[in-house]
């Protein structure tokens, strides 16, 4: 995760124009079945369902700073749970949805206990293993999952008393009726004190821990919530596609969800859905025109997006304004903000604890040298060697080694980008 992505991740408060845009978007979404043909509308259902999956990925990756390739596991648990419920118990959609959410959230809570101890790329690695192992489990546990043949489900009846939904347009409206409230809930959670705490953990876990937040419990809560959300997406997948097999929950889908989040912009929920639309259209719509070479195109789009859109589609809005202001400084304001915070709460850890702060911190120090020694020194009593360096306050990570050594040689400004990782 980049520092720039983090600063841009908090969506700006919605103004009057924003409200209008939201209303227009909802109206367009509701009116869609009367505007387009049935192939397009079934593609739109797919975008909404996978958009929910991408939002669950985004909640962990963008908001809590835990990059994941494993949400397909919970998506799959939800899909299989919904399919089995539909076959054996009831066609009623809300029941399938409730069962899927409950089961996938429970599985996420149990697996999460082990996973949320990891951070960063290790987390990505673990969740990738979870996703793939869920795929193999779906393949091999054939008495429950039907193996590679998968499980089909009957048409969905949204609530008691309604008829089966036979037309793609009605299915889409049912998916939309679940999608919109869930989107609102997730957006609200991302902006709630809980969501803010998650962003805080992402930006500076040590400080959050020091001021008394139960970090592990928050992350497990986020993981469980995201698992339930992915499970809801799984139930809607059954409603709209009426079929699930291992290939629907495989690595490609996990990669697509993460790609959608990155293209959309980390931390932005509407960006995640927009990114999903880009991904689904690229793979299924344009890819269909290119003899099924959709994944190839998707891979190329993704590689280009990683290079050219460091903050995704959501970052485009702010990129130009930001560039005009900062004029060359890599992470404007971060070093200063980190130092001020370190002085206030006394934990002595600033952005450098995250590994890439060496550069931002050093830049800040160079721009504003008098503040650096005082703040770091006051914040940290144990590490005398680091008293002159910004990063010296955290003894256990590599940047501190550089800072400690560099700090003995001279003032903080001397450890420029040449020594940073």
């Amino acid at each position: 995760m980049t520092a720039a992505a983090r600063t841009a991740a908090r969506p700006p408060a919605t103004g009057r124009l924003g409200v209008l845009a939201v209303v227009a978007a909802v109206v367009a979404l509701v009116a869609a079945p009367w505007m387009v043909d049935s192939y397009t509308i079934s593609l739109a259902s797919k975008v909404l369902v996978l958009g929910l999956l991408a939002m669950s990925v985004n909640l962990l990756t963008g908001v809590a700073g835990l990059p994941t390739l494993g949400q397909t596991a919970y998506f799959g648990v939800g899909a299989y749970a919904a399919a089995l419920t539909a076959r054996a118990v009831t066609q009623v959609g809300v029941v399938q949805l409730a069962v899927a959410v409950a089961v996938s959230a429970a599985v996420a809570a149990v697996t999460g206990i082990a996973v949320v101890r990891a951070r960063g790329i290790t987390f990505l690695m673990l969740t990738l293993a979870i996703g793939e192992l869920a795929y193999s489990a779906a393949m091999e546990w054939s008495s429950v999952t039907g193996g590679s043949d998968g499980r089909a489900a009957p048409q969905v009846v949204p609530v008691w008393g309604m008829g089966e939904l036979l037309l793609d347009g009605y299915v889409y409206l049912w998916v939309l009726a679940v999608f919109l409230p869930l989107f609102a809930v997730v957006a609200a959670v991302a902006r709630s004190p809980f969501g803010l705490a998650l962003r805080g953990i992402r930006d500076n876990e040590a400080r959050l821990r020091a001021v008394g937040y139960p970090v592990a419990r928050y992350l497990l809560g986020a993981y469980t919530f995201a698992g339930g959300l992915a499970g809801a997406a799984g139930a809607l997948w059954i409603s709209s596609q009426r079929f699930v097999s291992p290939s629907e929950i495989g690595f490609t889908v996990a990669a697509m969800a993460l790609i959608a989040v990155v293209i959309g912009g980390l931390g932005s929920m509407s960006g995640a859905v927009a990114g999903t639309a880009v991904v689904v259209l690229t793979r299924d719509y344009i890819g269909g025109e290119l003899n099924g070479r959709g994944p190839l195109l998707l891979g190329i789009v993704f590689v280009l997006a990683v290079y050219l859109l460091p903050r995704g589609l959501a970052g485009l809005r702010t990129t130009f304004a930001r560039q005009r202001v900062s004029a060359g400084a890599p992470h404007p304001g971060r070093g200063g903000a980190g130092r001020g915070g370190a002085g206030r709460d006394g934990t002595g850890r600033d952005g450098a604890g995250r590994g890439e702060g060496g550069r931002g911190g050093a830049g800040g120090g160079a721009a504003d040298p008098p503040a650096a020694p005082g703040a770091a020194g006051a914040a940290d009593g144990e590490d005398a060697a680091g008293a002159e360096g910004n990063e010296g306050a955290e003894p256990s990570t590599p940047p501190s080694t550089v800072a400690a050594v560099a700090g003995r040689r001279g003032p903080a400004g001397s450890n420029g980008p040449g020594t940073s990782p």
Partner: protein, 295 residues
């Protein structure tokens, strides 16, 4: 003697487990060292294996020259692939490790689709040399001769990697870079050269693993993802940045994979899951870990 009877029933699976374990080791060691050193998770590592297996398929002519040509081409391909991946991820180093991992993810998707195009979605047969196609007797069971030879070659490779890593001064430099990259840099070593070297060596190992492993786990759709995940589990179980850990983890995972599949076919995936989480619960950094910067 129930124990002997059990052993007799599963001896083939156990030997298979050693073969697959060593196969996973050839991938895991590069993955683990690159990750332990510069926190770059190379999600295209399985693609390197797939490339090697595909080269073996293309060059296999049923004789030893085909295998030799495959190995030569594999080394070249590995060096080129490793250099390319290192060169592509390097410009993103200042943006953080997630962007680097995402880039390799994009590359792996491109690689998988190109392979799908070339192979038309089928698993391609890569025959071992003619002399090794038959079965030999292992404790009273017929067993493919090539797998035994593979176990021998892969064990020799693993031993060579282990000796270079643990006993040579070059290995000491690599271990030091894993443990504390910045301190090594401060001592005046250009750590980028070490990083590139390990990246290239890891890629060569993965591609050579693909060339040698093609008759066992042939080039097919999804193989790249499978070997990537198995070697990730190996790295998680064994511990980051350690050759010994990778070897130990690989042999364990190989056994759970094949023996588990033989004993409880429906639950093999859960066994690997459960084993990984059990190790994580007891030793969060894996069985053997040198890397201090695992976050």
């Amino acid at each position: 003697m129930p124990v002997l009877g059990w052993l007799d029933a599963y001896i083939v699976s156990i030997v298979d487990g050693v073969a697959f374990g060593l196969l996973y080791f050839t991938l895991a060691v590069g993955l683990s060292l690159v990750f332990g050193m510069m926190d770059v998770l190379n999600l295209a590592h399985g693609t390197l294996y797939l490339g090697g297996a595909y080269v073996a398929y293309l060059l296999a002519d049923g004789g030893w020259t085909g295998l030799a040509a495959g190995l030569g081409a594999g080394v070249v391909l590995g060096l080129a692939g490793g250099a390319l991946l290192a060169a592509l991820t390097q410009p993103l180093a200042h943006r953080g490790h997630l962007d680097q991992a995402l880039l390799t993810l994009g590359i792996s998707i491109i690689g998988a689709d190109l392979f799908l195009f070339a192979a038309r979605g089928e698993t391609l047969p890569a025959e071992p040399p003619a002399g090794l196609r038959d079965s030999v007797e292992v404790a009273g069971h017929a067993y493919p001769a090539y797998r035994l030879v593979f176990i021998g070659i892969a064990a020799a490779l693993a031993l060579a990697v282990y000796l270079v890593f643990e006993r040579s001064s070059l290995g000491a430099l690599v271990r030091a870079t894993v443990a504390d990259r910045d301190m090594v840099r401060v001592l005046g070593v250009d750590t980028r050269k070490v990083l590139y070297g390990v990246f290239a060596a890891g890629a060569v190992l993965a591609v050579v693993g693909g060339v040698l492993g093609a008759p066992i786990l042939g080039p097919g759709p999804g193989v790249d993802g499978h070997v990537l995940v198995m070697s990730l589990v190996v790295v998680v179980v064994g511990g980051l940045g350690s050759v010994r850990g990778a070897l130990l983890g690989a042999l364990l995972v190989g056994q759970v994979d094949t023996l588990g599949r033989a004993v409880a076919p429906e639950y093999a995936a859960f066994l690997i899951f459960g084993g990984m989480f059990a190790v994580l619960a007891v030793r969060p950094r894996g069985l053997v870990s040198l890397a201090r910067t695992a976050s």
